[in-house]
């Protein structure tokens, strides 16, 4: 194995003469701008990785956490609610100033038409439908 690697090394002997070109006083000096493409590349890759990690964390329901929004999403997912319905539920939670948006899933009284705030009166039919679906 050693013999093989030594042979391969010696076979490229002709390239050795260019090996320390940038470091010689005689060669052109290295400038910071020379590294910019590399840094940008690294940052780009890092950003993508961070975005992937954040996305995965956000959607990893098996990860221990204390996240009210995530719990809301988890429940919406379990009930197979589309984004419009999720938005409507979120508005309902906001309207009643619930500490936890997920509380709407255990509070059927919030869906009562009489108790609906003015801003959601227009959605009363949808909310009534949603109540039937969730309780």
């Amino acid at each position: 194995m050693d013999a093989l690697s030594t042979g391969s090394l010696l076979a490229q002997f002709t390239k050795w003469e260019r090996l320390g070109d940038g470091f010689r006083r005689t060669g052109p000096p290295l400038e910071l701008v020379d590294f910019i493409p590399h840094i940008v590349g690294i940052l780009l890759v890092g950003g993508i990785v961070a975005a992937i990690i954040t996305y995965r964390r956000r959607n990893d329901l098996n990860r221990p956490c204390t996240d009210s929004q995530k719990l809301f999403r988890e429940l919406c997912l379990a009930h197979d609610l589309d984004s419009g319905t999720q938005k409507l539920l979120g508005q309902l939670a906001n309207a009643f100033q619930l500490a936890q948006p997920a509380e709407v899933f255990v509070s059927p009284q919030l869906f009562s038409t009489e108790r609906l705030p003015e801003s959601l009166r227009a959605e009363a039919a949808l909310i009534a439908e949603l109540r039937k679906r969730l309780f």
């Binding site: 329901l61 379990a78 009930h79 509380e103 255990v106 509070s107 969730l134």
Partner: protein, 536 residues
């Protein structure tokens, strides 16, 4: 197919998001209804002390269904229970105490003991009371037969509880909690080293308290403990004193139960060390008011104890005069150990008791007491309608056996033979078979004597076969005596035999046979059927 609500609570139960607890607590705020129950179920399914504490806070409002849900979550709520016990919230503490008692959560006993020791803590009294109740539950569990088969858990709990109580007793001088002492007595065994050390040392800080507990507690386990200590090789004198002085009915019954069984040597020795029983003199618990079985057992206990003979005699007299039949009989039997005019008088009284066992017990003692005039009484008792009494009379007159009669027959006068013979007939139930055996005895004399006795006792009809056999005896004197005796049974069968004997080779036999046959002629011989009837 799950309902939407079930799906919601399933997600909340399994979610690893801690926000689920707050959502559940929001649902749990409702007064009642399915959401309330589901939220409680889910809270209990999750491991969150805060949520469990919230559930414990509402324990007093719960119905049966909710309470059973809480009790089923035993392993998950133990942390919240521990916190609740140590909390200053009176309601939470009270609720937690109830749950702990229902769950029989012995793991919390060390915490409760520590709390009970702090006399300044507002919950100290309740904690001490709870420790006592839990110890009582544990002791019941340890003694139940079902647990004895699978007592691994109970033994582990016992160790936990006992260790914490032992540590607490080391600090007894500071807290003086009698409940903790009593709890200790409920779970420690009779061979517990600390218990015996305390009871052996009057200067021990726990000595007084422990003695008071043992002297006053009516808990079955404490009663058992006292009795179990009596089974120990070296029962402390304190315990003997307590046993002597306790006069409560429960304890007396427990003590009597032990004495009713087979006693080990250590128990017998310890019972002998008991010099008195205060209940013997108590006006509230007279022996005569005990149950029939307890009266019998009390007689056994008194006989096994070291109580003075005077006290025992007084107790036996009380029982004999006003006890239940079995108690009177036992007392009467126990009087055998006592002599003197007073006892003789009691025995004579007992002979006329209404209960045959008492009569029998008294009858058996009549002869040994040498009370004047007892022979006619015993003779009368031989004809008593109760077999038990007759047997006792026969036992008392056992010297009037057929064997003795035969042995002394030759030395008796004719009159004495007559009197004693008839007495032997009444006393010795085996006399006839023994007499029959005598006919086959070796030697001429015994056979002749047997023939004479048969005639004397007028039992010839019952030994005809043996007499007929003797007509062929080698000795002519025996043959002649048999021929002579057979005149008392004039039946055709005997007549035929005598007619043969009339031609015996011995003149004496011939004469005897002819003499008997001459007697026969004065009778009208019974027919075969009449003869069979007579024999039957």
């Amino acid at each position: 197919m799950k309902t939407p609500t079930e799906l919601t609570f399933e997600v909340l139960a399994n979610s690893r998001n801690e926000s689920a607890n707050e959502v559940l607590l929001a649902a749990f705020q409702q007064e009642s209804g399915p959401l309330f129950v589901e939220s409680l179920k889910t809270i209990l399914a999750r491991r969150n002390k805060g949520a469990h504490t919230a559930a414990l806070l509402r324990w007093h409002e719960f119905g049966e269904q909710e309470r059973s849900l809480v009790l089923k979550a035993r392993s998950r709520i133990s942390g919240a229970l521990r916190d609740a016990v140590l909390s200053n919230d009176a309601l939470l503490f009270a609720n937690a105490c109830q749950v702990i008692e229902l769950l029989e959560d012995y793991d919390l006993v060390p915490n409760l003991v520590t709390l009970a020791e702090h006399n300044t803590n507002p919950h100290a009294n309740d904690a001490a009371a709870l420790v006592l109740r839990l110890s009582a539950q544990l002791s019941t569990k340890l003694q139940s037969p079902a647990m004895q088969n699978d007592s691994r858990d109970a033994k582990v709990f016992r160790k936990v509880v006992l260790d914490s109580l032992r540590r607490s007793l080391d600090r007894y001088r500071y807290h003086k909690r009698a409940e903790l002492l009593e709890s200790f007595t409920l779970v420690c065994g009779a061979d517990d080293e600390l218990l015996l050390t305390i009871l052996d040392d009057p200067h021990h800080p726990c000595f007084k308290g422990m003695s008071q507990v043992l002297a006053s507690s009516s808990h079955p386990t404490v009663l058992n403990l006292l009795v179990d200590i009596l089974h120990q090789e070296k029962a402390p004198a304190t315990v003997l004193s307590i046993v002597s002085h306790r006069s409560d009915r429960k304890f007396i019954s427990r003590l009597l139960d032990v004495c009713g069984r087979k006693r080990v040597p250590a128990l017998s020795r310890n019972l002998k060390r008991l010099r008195t029983f205060s209940w013997l003199n108590a006006t509230t618990h007279r022996l005569s008011t005990f149950s029939e079985t307890d009266q019998v057992k009390s007689v056994h206990l008194l006989r096994a104890s070291g109580v003075s003979p005077e006290s025992v005699l007084n107790a036996l007299e009380e029982l004999l005069l006003s006890g239940e039949p079995a108690g009177r009989a036992a007392a009467c039997e126990a009087l055998a150990e006592f002599s003197g005019d007073h006892t003789n008088h009691l025995i004579l009284q007992a002979v006329y008791d209404t209960a045959p066992p008492v009569q029998a017990a008294a009858t058996r003692q009549l002869r040994d007491r040498h009370i004047p005039g007892t022979m006619p009484l015993l003779s009368d008792l031989l004809d008593c309608p109760h077999e038990e009494v007759r047997a006792a009379a026969r036992e008392a007159l056992s010297e009037f056996s057929f064997e003795n009669f035969v042995k002394n027959y030759d030395s008796l006068s004719e009159e004495a033979r007559q009197t004693t013979g008839s007495f032997v007939q009444r006393v010795d139930e085996e006399y006839l078979s023994l007499l029959k055996a005598e006919f086959a005895a070796q030697g001429v004399k015994p056979r002749l004597r047997a023939i004479e006795i048969a005639t004397l006792l007028e039992v010839v009809p019952f030994v005809v076969e043996e007499l007929l056999t003797l007509l062929s005896d080698q000795d002519h004197v025996v043959r002649a005596a048999a021929a002579e005796a057979l005149k008392y049974w004039p039946v055709p069968e005997v007549q035929a035999a005598l007619e043969v004997a009339a031609y015996d080779r011995s003149g004496t036999v011939q004469n005897a046979a002819r003499s008997s046959l001459a007697v026969f002629t004065s009778f009208e011989l019974p027919t075969t059927s009449a003869h069979a009837e007579v024999q039957r």
